[in-house]
């Protein structure tokens, strides 16, 4: 249990997907202009990433390894993730229309979020068991959401401030992300 809590703290703060692993930067910069879209995106990512972690674990250990075609990992995983996203979208539309409306537009974007494929491959590489894979995927997604929501809050506040013309838009956003990453470095050493 203690080990699992350490893993969660590690994945959320110390080895944050955005700030130390550089995964999912495109949506991180793309959908962080407004706080509510950031929250929607974080929820969608958490949902898909957790399921993707579980499914890719099963595919890796019960399909790829027994047949001996691990070298097809990249192709198979990306297809699994793409179809999973479609599947989640269809199921959600039928069973939870309210949730579908809230997350709707973010779901298709998730296929090209490299955090999903990245975390799936990382879990396989570090030989996690099934429960740990699911927990690790979930915690990584929470870390992504945390980073995204903090960033969106700052960017909303930034709209009312004067920024030098040359820095307006993406440059200042990147520099803020850098300062946030600096702040997150303060967590390093907390968990090995």
């Amino acid at each position: 249990m203690a080990e699992m809590i350490l893993m969660i703290v590690g994945a959320v703060f110390v080895n944050n997907v955005v700030f130390t692993k550089f995964l999912g930067i495109c949506p991180y910069l793309g959908v962080s202009k407004k706080l509510d879209t950031a929250i929607g995106m974080s929820m969608a990512v958490t949902f898909v990433l957790t399921i993707a972690g579980a499914v890719t674990y099963i595919v890796q250990n019960y399909v790829l390894v027994p047949i001996g075609i691990q070298y097809l990992q990249t192709i198979v995983f990306i297809l699994v993730i793409a179809s999973l996203v479609q599947f989640v979208e269809i199921v959600m539309k039928k069973t939870a229309p309210a949730l579908y409306k809230a997350l709707g537009i973010f779901l298709p974007l998730i296929t090209t979020n490299c955090a999903i494929l990245g975390v799936a491959i990382l879990s396989v590489q570090s030989n996690l068991n099934f429960i740990n894979t699911v927990v690790f995927s979930f915690a990584s997604a929470i870390g992504f959401g945390l980073a995204l929501i903090i960033f969106a809050g700052i960017r909303e506040a930034l709209d009312t401030r004067k920024v030098p013309a040359a820095f307006a838009g993406s440059p200042i956003a990147l520099i803020i992300a850098g300062i946030l990453a600096l702040a997150f470095m303060g967590f390093s050493g907390m968990v090995k």
């Binding site: 550089f22 440059p171 992300a177």
Partner: protein, 201 residues
Amino acid sequence: MKIGEKFKKAFFTENPVTGLLLGLCPTLAVTSTAENGIGMGLATTFVLVGSNVVVSILKNVIPSRVRIPAFIVIIATFVTIVDMGLQATMFELHKTLGLFIPLIVVNCIILGRAEAFASKNTVWDSFVDGISMGLGFTFTLFILGSIREILGSGAILGYNFLPETSPTILVFVLAPGAFITLGFMLVGMNKINKVLQGSKS
């Protein structure tokens, strides 16, 4: 379109990273040294050229409703080739780039070019497009990697030009330095683009 014009676009005004803000994950992650930047850039260029050519050959065969999955399979095939090729020939580089080699598959530059360019143009044009865009990406990664390596470890391409005792700013080779350097690079590139466009009109 003239080839020179195309390269100017890919390197400056429509540079995938500084102009369109695509493919930022590998850009930030692997540029702690100039050498890694070049390695990642060339691996991406190979995949980009390969997928552009194959997509443009098959553009009339692939039904438009399933084109995105089809493109992804084509891209993933080339990524697997690069992954295995690098592992066999350049093991050290493969180890440092690590996770980001399989992640070339979700680099939006590649799918973006397949969808926006290769699926509508001839094989030769798509080939040139792949080369120019790929080299534009490599160029940006090289510049970013060089700046970070010079500031962060006082070296360029692994060659140490500062005396042993001189101070370096370690944060530039760490994660925060990546974001901050790219932010300042965007400012510089915007300025260059303005000058380039100003000279044209």
